[in-house]
Symmetry: C2
Subunit: 873 residues, 2 copies
């Protein structure tokens, strides 16, 4: 038979999944002998069972609870509802993952019209007893009976006005009795039942309320935001009450064993005298710094300090502790690993290694990879931020903070930047044509598009703050304004973007530049020694490459050549190439592009030194390079000296129903081999130039979107023939590799064939995910969030590799690829290359490297090290 209830003495810290964090830690604290009020925990599994039973506490469960209640009554010597020495308990939620404030708590449970008198007698403090009863009634009324808070507050306030007093503490016993009477009337009226006098009924109702709070809207939203599966469920902790509000020798508080903002090794927290826990949370009275307790109750402070040290040592990590003092006796109510900023996480981890309480490997495991990206971007000044007004929110598409004047098209942003202004680009969505404006902007705000939209991907690549899919923003690009509700922002108005959380603020906010601490540098040297995976970067320019090297990149895993095509000076030649009606004209246009591409590669190769560089040949469909707005089409027609009608026809002709699955990647080169010829020429000539200047580069030439061996063979021939010609002409010899993306499911399945011709594979997991799931990443935003709400997808597969499906294809490809060519180089260059879970998967697959945007490089280094540690045996 399943055991649904555990006494605290039965619980241990490693039973979190079953007992929840709070329950497991109460058990653990009990086991190491710290002063913990006694109690028991109803397991998280019970919560799931509760929903399966149709939201009812079934008979056997009730019996099991009552058995533990009796035991608790025995050990405390008190009885629930007793009119002499009543037991009071708290009923608290506690899931295995911390969800602070999201679920419900009931304190002082066990009071009724009889036991309140018992409490008054037992404590000799009637005022305390009636105040506790009043508090309990209000809490129970709100949490269990769902009566609106103000209805109780109103009665309390009226009484205080009537008595002309300010503080609750000034209320007399009679005042409280009167308030209780009126509370009862409210309960009767609002819930159609009298306030329950049966204390066991109180207990069961409270337990149900906690279970139900697992599915309340704010808990659901929190879970969704934090990727917490609904199947975890919450435990319920029933604990005998201790009272911080029994007078001036009592109190309650919260403290961290180290400073959670910067990691400083010093108790950090606050306390309130004569108060219960919710008074600290409610913020009505201002708590005092924990240091002051030292003067006020030196013994208790010392005792707490010792307990805190024991706990930190015991758990081996910084703790967040709740405590209560009841008549100068200290009780530990809760301990848990303290949340901390990235800065604190790093400083604490490194300090603890120096203190000898952590190994370097343990320290590496202590820092959340996703968090450290914060450290690399500017942030807003905290003070200034507090005063700022939020306009709206959107998806946190790319971290960082930015302030500037709004502009609605890339040209205006470029012009503003030229005038020395800071500009924010605001668009419905961005497209590759906007690239120059994106480079010039401080930050980017779009009203549509998801976490892997064009704006998001490009901004992350640049380490530029971006908020995407801000649905409330209605952008009027031609009118150069945007609206949020009834407010309108015109061109030139200031706004500020906070990309880590996706907040859009009114006006200008001062930003702080990032600073990388010594501890960070130290930790990263340990990280680099530990990891097995190499970390490369996705970089299209030497500027990106420089940034990435600074962050520790060991090569370029993906240099997209198309972004180079969008620059003002080049786009005309690109368009001439596309609009050419014969091979000769097309070659002429390509001839104009050649020196520019060559120069790009020269710069990148020089920047990268001996580090490997993977260059992907042209990938996007040609229509991406042509304008789509009537005005732009007309201008282009004039420039190209062709009739507008004809140009419109070409554009219409290039349109595709599903461009994602259309004429792009190596398919383009089958139609127009001269494009890849030009690109290969540029790569090889650049390599020769760099070599002649004493450099050393082995370009890795990557052919995208291969799905069939012969596609690769066809394009490989182009590469080999062009390279041969360039080398012969220049009397030079350059080593280079030819490989392919594995991004089409068929390529994964036929990877053995493909590996016969490819010297390396780079997994393009963005497209592979799109095709394996059949989700267009441009469109899936609509239903993926519903899928997460409805528990159909635990994770967005564009953020984290779906190991079961996409991952399985990768496994197949790795196995087949290695079988056909044991020396094959394997890497990944999709957006997943910066995601810790995906990096772990790549480690397990035995890839040589992951490649990610420059600002994710440190994240990837850390995640790779953690993967190596986690799977070291």
């Amino acid at each position: 038979m399943t055991k649904f209830v555990y006494g605290f003495h039965e619980g241990r810290g490693d039973m979190k999944l079953l007992l929840g964090g709070k329950g497991a830690n109460l058990g653990e604290m009990t086991s190491i002998g710290l002063p913990v009020p006694e109690g028991f925990t109803i397991t998280t599994e019970t919560c799931n069972q509760y929903y399966r039973e149709g939201s009812k506490l079934w008979d056997e469960l009730q019996k099991e609870i009552l058995t533990h209640l009796e035991e608790l009554q025995k050990t405390t010597g008190k009885v629930l509802g007793d009119h002499k020495n009543p037991l009071l308990v708290s009923v608290r939620s506690g899931s295995s993952v911390s969800m602070p404030g999201m679920m419900d708590t009931i304190l002082n449970l066990g009071l009724n019209d009889a036991s309140v008198e018992g409490l008054a007698q037992a404590t000799g403090n009637p005022r305390f007893a009636y105040d506790s009863y009043r508090r309990f009634m209000q809490m129970f009324g709100e949490v269990v009976l769902h009566i609106q808070k103000y209805k109780f507050d109103h009665i309390l306030e009226n009484k205080k006005t009537e008595k002309n007093i300010e503080e609750d503490t000034e209320l007399t016993v009679d005042d409280l009795k009167d308030i209780i009477k009126k509370y009862k009337q409210v309960v009767q009226k609002e819930s159609n039942m009298g306030f329950p006098q049966d204390t066991k009924e109180q207990l069961f109702m409270a337990i149900e309320a906690v279970f139900k709070s697992w599915e309340n809207p704010r808990a659901k939203v929190y879970r969704k935001l934090n990727d917490i599966p609904a199947s975890l469920g919450t435990a319920v902790n029933i604990q005998s009450m201790v009272f911080g509000n029994m007078g001036d020798a009592s109190g309650t508080g919260v403290a961290f064993t180290r400073n959670p903002s910067n990691g400083e090794k010093k108790l950090f927290g606050e306390y309130l005298i004569n108060a219960q826990g919710e008074d600290v949370v409610a913020g009505i009275r201002t708590p005092k710094p924990i240091e002051e307790l030292k003067q006020r109750m030196p013994k208790v402070y010392q005792q707490f300090n010792d307990a805190a040290e024991i706990l930190e040592k015991h758990y081996g990590d910084m703790q967040d502790i709740e405590f209560t003092i009841e008549n100068e006796k200290l009780y530990m109510l809760q301990t848990r690993t303290g949340k901390r900023t990235a800065l604190a996480a790093i400083n604490i981890a490194v300090d603890m290694v120096k203190e000898g309480s952590l190994t370097k490997e343990e320290a590496i495991m202590r820092v959340e990879p996703a968090q450290i990206e914060q450290l690399l971007h500017p942030t807003f000044d905290e003070k200034a931020l507090e005063e700022a007004t939020i306009i709206t929110t959107g998806l946190p598409a790319s971290s960082g903070a930015a302030s500037g004047k709004v502009y609605f098209n890339p040209e205006d942003v470029v012009a503003a930047k030229a005038r020395g202004e800071k500009a924010i680009l605001v668009r419905t969505e961005t497209s590759p044509e906007d690239i120059e404006g994106m480079v010039a902007a401080e930050g980017i705000l779009t009203s549509k598009g998801g976490m892997t939209s064009h704006a998001a991907v490009v901004a992350r690549g640049m380490g530029k703050c971006c908020i995407a899919g801000a649905g409330e923003v209605r952008v009027d690009e031609p009118g150069k304004v945007f609206h949020v509700g009834k407010t309108t922002y015109k061109e030139g108005d200031y706004i500020s973007l906070e990309g880590t959380k996706g907040m859009v603020y009114h006006g200008e906010i001062i930003t702080k530049d990032p600073q990388l601490s010594g501890s960070f540098m130290e930790l990263m040297t340990w990280v680099d020694k530990t990891r097995k995976l190499k970390i490369r970067t996705n970089a299209d320019t030497s500027r990106d490459a420089e940034k990435a090297i600074e962050f520790g990149a060991e090569g370029i895993g993906l240099c997209r050549t198309e972004h180079m095509f969008f620059e003002e000076s080049r786009i005309t030649a690109v368009r001439k190439m596309i609009l050419a009606t014969n091979e000769a004209d097309r070659k002429k246009a390509l001839q104009q592009l050649l020196p520019m591409q060559r120069q790009d590669f020269v710069e990148i190769f020089k920047t990268m030194g001996e580090r490997p560089v993977t260059v992907r040949l042209l990938d996007p469909p040609l229509h991406e390079f042509l304008p789509h707005e009537e005005k732009d089409i007309e201008q282009l027609a004039i420039k190209m000296e062709m009739p507008v009608k004809q140009l419109r026809e070409v554009i219409e002709d290039l349109k595709e129903v599903n461009p994602m699955l259309g004429h792009r990647g190596c398919r383009l080169a089958v139609t127009y081999p001269e494009i890849y010829e030009m690109q290969v020429r540029a790569i090889l000539e650049a390599a020769i130039i760099v070599k002649n200047e004493g450099g050393h580069v082995i370009p890795e030439i990557m052919i995208p979107l291969v799905g069939e061996l012969k596609e690769l063979q066809y394009n490989k021939d182009i590469v080999i023939n062009t390279a041969k010609e360039v080398m012969e002409k220049n009397e030079a010899s350059i080593d280079y590799l030819i490989g392919t993306m594995i991004e089409v499911p068929r390529a994964a399945i036929t990877a053995d064939e493909i590996a016969e011709e490819a010297e390396f594979f780079s997994f393009g997991t963005n497209d592979l995910t799109q095709m394996t799931y059949g989700y267009s990443r441009d469109d899936a935003g609509k239903f993926i969030s519903q899928y997460k709400d409805k528990n159909i997808l635990a994770k967005d597969p564009f953020q984290q590799i779906d190991r079961k499906g996409v991952g399985k294809l990768m496994e197949i490809a790795v196995e087949l690829g290695k079988k056909a060519r044991p020396s094959i180089k394997l890497g990944i260059c999709g957006e997943h290359g910066g995601d810790p879970s995906s990096i772990e998967f790549c480690h397990l697959l035995g890839l040589e490297y992951v490649s990610c945007s420059p600002y994710r490089v440190p994240v990837a280094r850390l995640a790779a090290a953690q993967s190596a540690i986690r799977h070291s045996n």
Copy 2:
């Protein structure tokens, strides 16, 4: 060492791949003792080697050829180029697959200024000798030296005019000598070389010319049209000449052992007296029916008749034989399996079983499955067709023949049909909105779209003639005209479509209804006993279902519910449903659709009797149901009583970048569960109605586009709950199955999980192919034909299952699915279900059934039987 040359005595019929069809058969005929002029064959592999050597005859090959030439000289007692008794040879191409008239032939090789005299002496017929020389020079000039034909013809015609004669035979020796002199001048002028007098040089040049003709444009086009791989290469046959033009005791002819049009068992062919083979082909003189030879040369006729019988018996199939008579001596020049119509193929196969010369299984293998679809559709009257003018051509998207007046939108077609007119729907492309017009039309012509475009798929389903992607047609839908070149066709003008070849004709052409012969019926009973696969049909209406049953369908494998939504009477309710802004309004609109869908299912279930019916729940994205043209949008806004602007916004909002990978299939039902609820209700209520009337139906409810187990679970819950409710309400019990399409790669890879919840899988190979290759079938037309030209794809994967990639995923899914649920039912409902090679693959996979459009059902039955025979051991 590779042997490149085989004497005829070394060849056998089963060496076709190496010796080509002609070479192998000459060998075979030699071996069975028929009178075949001696010679040797250069292998098909030599052809490939020739291209690898840079289009040169390498030394060793030349030596090997000369060795065989010497042998030939020995056996014939003649010497090439001899001025007394010269050997003359023919040099003919011959690949392993028949490509009639596509490659080159040179006759009478070995004549030069000296040997022509030898020939004159040896035959005692100088006129014959000089005429042969003239013919040889012309043929060599054209074929080897690429001199235009008219330059020779001109000289010949001039001479005839000068002499005032009509027939070549009237030319004297002197005339011929004069012509030869002038021919030499032409050769000198055009090729910058004298006519080669070295007969070995002649031979080598001729051999090279044959090899080169393998890559001539018409051969390439023919191979592409007939899916013949370029790697086969052609053999070259060098055979000593016999002469049908040595006077009135000589002649040449061609005959089939049975009638190739209808299969009648009787020699069928024609001959010419005093002529060489090319005279028959050239069509200058009218040949005589073969029967007349019986009177003219009874002995030779008898001898030929005997040989023909021997050959038919020997090969066990109807033969197509070339012969020559030289001075009353019969020579067999070639025999090959005769090409025949579908009707003849069936009649011959069934007759030969009755004659005892074939087993039923062999007879089944004798009929080409793809061919028999011809028999099911109307055809044009042959005479009328001969006189018809071709306007243009397009893709042969759906077989059959149709004549009618052109109309440019579905409403006009429906109206025309109502007036009793026959109408052809002409559109740029069709969309689901056009469905009623497509039903009413006799045939459909589109200027865009490929073999799997909407028009093609729907028309095939209806068995309606359709020509898609007729690129020369420029359709002006609003103007109600279409243009081809400078000709314009207006609404109401007659055109005719021939869908088997994709021909568009001017005016009206009389059609003949199809008639299924007794032999056809007999063959199909053998077929049905032989096959292992069940054949179901894709049918959306009871009309389709009836047709399919007539053609032998054993169930419905795919009933698409969306086509039902497009009917005039329903589309308004569908649109209301889509435009509803809340669940209540949506349900109200669905409530209107319910009785209509229910009635559809009642009719289908009744038609199908006890046969299984798989119903697919709604699949396409919602935007397909909304209008896209401004005029229609305005009208709809009025009808829906909503502002046009708002409607436009809804339509804009539903637009997707890649609709193929968008919000459709079961994803829709996650957002709007009420849609599937309504559909399941309609299915179950219909089943109850049919059951109550004594019918019997076990609906198979199919959930489309599942890629993740939980998607299926979510939708399965909807089905189960709705079904339960309907059954309880009606106090009825209906057995039904719940299954899913396997059409997303991820579903195939995780098929074990999915099979836990699915009682059947139906492979949706259209979408599976799209996602596995990453080809949008709406867009891939652009590059797939290039891919075939450039040998990157051997086959269009949308026509024939790609076994290596898509097929591999199917294999994985079958294996995983059966492991998790051994009883799982497996079928296929993609367009591939009607393709013989794909059917064979399904047989090998062990599927239970294939499902295809009604008119493909007989094709599928035959293909399934052939697969069973082919893989019977």
